[in-house]
């Protein structure tokens, strides 16, 4: 796991050229110099920006509503108005095939899905949903796991054993099996999640966000707890105790700053993982529920059109690949910057 970082502002054996710079500044400079990581960051920010612009695209460019069915609508292809869904040919005329990509941003750039909706607009809106859930669940997961790890690692004893065993139980389930089980119960049930006054309907994006956050807590908890155990026995922690610092101060002022780098390293990787998980669940119809769309639900919509209209599934697939790739490379860069000893191990 990530090695211990020096506490910001503490003495260190750095060379003269970096004297006076904090570890955070060093890490930032290291990251800045990593061109691949920075390119990934730019790519990720570009994807986020494009997805955030979905309403602008739908309203000002495509002039359609990608959430409303439009089975009897028409569009312009090569200057001619054509129906969005066309009946099959031959004698039997079975089935209805949606229009394919027009490569014209104003008119169904990536074609229509089987309900006559603009695939390009849905991919952009779906990206917003996937990113919201991915980032949201990763942040929630890391926050919960960090708090539990701080409590378990600092208090130790029975508390540590109890919390660690609970985490072990969650960890024991195959991650997708657990996610599918919980999602099937909550997302396809009439009442969604109801715990006391808290009520989340099945269509709420909070449900898949919380489910995905929950299943990954042990995966963040373990490395963070290990770091807490290590830091809590360091001299500066003992010095703080000797000076009469309270437990809360010890945890949040002395230990947390020394473990947060681990969380930062894990965060982009967790976002990539949670985006993939959300897409998988949505593909199985137990993630994001209509009328919302995500990249996973759009791939699901496109699976019956793979032969004739492959772009319905390919476009969101490409977006997932690019996003996850960017986040993974960025995560590696962040790790290299914040955890140089790990890099030395890899290179050495």
């Amino acid at each position: 796991m990530a090695a211990v970082l020096e506490q910001p502002g503490t003495a260190a054996t750095h060379g003269p050229e970096i004297t006076g710079r904090s570890p955070w500044a060093l890490a930032a400079r290291q990251l800045w110099r990593n061109r691949i990581a920075m390119a990934s960051l730019v790519l990720f920010l570009l994807i986020v920006a494009v997805c955030l612009a979905a309403p602008l695209y739908a309203h000002y460019v495509a002039h359609d509503n990608p959430f409303a069915t439009n089975l009897t609508g028409t569009t312009i292809v090569n200057g001619k108005r054509v129906p969005l869904l066309q009946q099959g040919g031959g004698v039997l005329r079975l089935g209805e095939t949606p229009v394919g990509p027009t490569w014209d941003l104003r008119h169904y750039f990536l074609g229509a899905d089987s309900l006559g909706r603009d695939v390009a607009g849905r991919v952009l809106y779906g990206g917003r949903t996937s990113l919201e859930i991915g980032i949201g669940s990763a942040v929630i997961c890391c926050a919960i796991a960090t708090v539990i790890a701080l409590v378990a690692g600092f208090i130790g004893g029975i508390t540590d054993s109890l919390l660690s065993r609970i985490m072990d139980v969650i960890w024991a389930f195959p991650v997708y099996l657990l996610a599918i089980s919980i999602s099937t119960v909550l997302l396809t049930a009439p009442n969604g999640l109801q715990v006391g006054p808290l009520h989340l309907v099945a269509t709420s994006l909070w449900l898949p966000t919380l489910i995905i956050a929950f299943i990954y807590v042990p995966y963040v908890y373990r490395p963070v707890r290990g770091q807490v155990l290590s830091v809590a026995r360091r001299e500066f922690a003992e010095a703080a105790i000797a000076q009469g610092a309270s437990n809360l101060r010890l945890i949040f002022s002395d230990i947390l700053p020394n473990v947060v780098s681990v969380v930062i390293v894990l965060l982009p990787l967790m976002i990539a993982t949670t985006i993939l998980t959300e897409s998988a669940l949505s593909f199985l119809s137990i993630g994001v529920q209509p009328p919302n769309a995500s990249w996973g639900t759009i791939i699901n919509d496109g699976q019956d059109l793979l032969y004739t209209r492959p772009w319905v599934a390919i476009a969101p697939g490409i977006m997932i690949v690019l996003t996850v790739l960017a986040l993974n490379v960025l995560g590696d860069g962040v790790r290299d910057a914040l955890d140089p000893r790990a890099k030395l191990r890899v290179e050495g």
Partner: protein, 576 residues
Amino acid sequence: MKYIPATAAITARHRARSLHKLAAGAAVAALAVTAAACGGSSQSSGPSQAAAHKGGTFTILANAAFGVADPAQNYTLEEWQLLIDTHDGLVQWLRVGGVSGTKLVPDLATSIPTPTDGGKTYLFHIRRGIKFSNGQVLKPSDFVRTLERQFTVPGPTSFYSGIVGASKCSTKGCDLSQGVVANDTSYTLTFHLTAPDPEFLDKLGLPFAYVVPASTSLKLTGNNVPPGTGPYMWQSYDPNKQAVLVRNPFFHVWNAAAQPPGNPNEIIEKYGLTVSDEVTAVENGQADEVFDGDVIPADRLNELNSPKFASQVHVNPLTADWYFALNTKVPPFNNVLARQAINYAANRTAYVKIGGGPSLAVPTCQILPPNFPGYKPYCPYTAGTNHTKWTAPDLAKARQLVQQSHTAGMKVVVNTDIPDKALGEQMVSDLNAIGYKASLQALSGSIQYPFVQNSNNIGKWNVAWSAWYQDYPAPSDFLNVLLGCGSIHPRSDASPNIAEFCAPSIQAQMNHAEGLGETNPAAANSLWAVVDHEVTNQAPWVDLYNPKQIDFLSSQVHGYQWNPQWYILIDQLWVK
């Protein structure tokens, strides 16, 4: 049956209800009259040609198996299409393609009896010399055990709940000795009913009443199908692999109109392939039939339009409805004007496209499907002045009705199961177009149908998707079962009148039509037509379309016949 996704209709279809004479259409009766009372003639080809068709293996590909195989419990078309080849009942629908196939003919009974005692007693004479596939001789007392198993094995018992003694039966035990009296000496079987049931003979034609030996356990036999008397017997059934039917060595033809000899020597149904792979295998001649024709992906449907497959694809209309039930108990659809509004607004062209296009779905506004007793075309909810056929939505009229009903702006929850959520999304669009604030509630297939039936959930939805396929050709199977006052069962997951629609005046007409059917089927059909139109005017549903069925066969298969009751007649196909 199978065509209703997952568990839909399995537990709920037939509740205890007062039924009267089945009103089969006069035209249907006329077409079938030649075979009505036959005792042994075959309507198939001559002996030498028939012999030439015998042999080979017919292989069906199905995505999934049909669950537990015990015929007392299974309620799927998938198994029923095989059970009709391995088992027999007292009566059977004429085993031919076309409308003649709606005619009941005697099977293990020598003739179809006329009920006595005011319609409460049926005396059947049972054929002698028939053996089960295990060599055991068929006796009338075997039927007693068969009917008792209907109650001891968990299943849709209400088909036979009118038999004397049935009310005391449960899964713990059943004694129908007073209601089903067998005489193994005179080979007679007498049914005593608590009340006249004009559809009793139809119910005896269903596989639930197909005879099994009296030695069969009263408990569920699981995947071991008890012996039957048909031309085939079950060699094996593994839901994870395949079902294999081979010839029954003890079978002989006693009435080919009811149970003809089959053509293939072996019928195999294999499980586990995706529907797309099923299509590929049949295209390549590696198998003979795609069972899941109703869910062939849009991509592959397009492929089947090729002239290359023209002779291998068979499309037939189903006597079935796909519809949205409107919750008549809570606003806004407790207001008939609001119900009529969404009926005017529903873009049935869009729903038809979701259903596979005009070749696979026909838009409708009324309850009874075409080619059904009592059907007279009627569609008040269409643009234009022709009220016999839907042409386009009338949004202006719909919005006007919404204003008149003072329901504009109300929230509406549209409930569907997940596989059919596209229909729900279109309904949301239609509702929003006329001023409602609609949202979709997509539930898993196993939950949705019981959920919308249970009155405890009446406040949680406003529009619910459902589909209904006939059990047998009787108007009451749609109108009374789905929209009769007696089909509302409070707090039950098995309450098929989802809309909770109950109009006492219409119910009185239904009751009259059922009674009339026993003596005057033509007059009964006319009355059913009136009922159908009156119910349509009250708009408890948004009827969407009547679906069609695709059967895709390999190029080596011949002898295709479409029976309106059993659909494709597997045993009558022959493999070249």
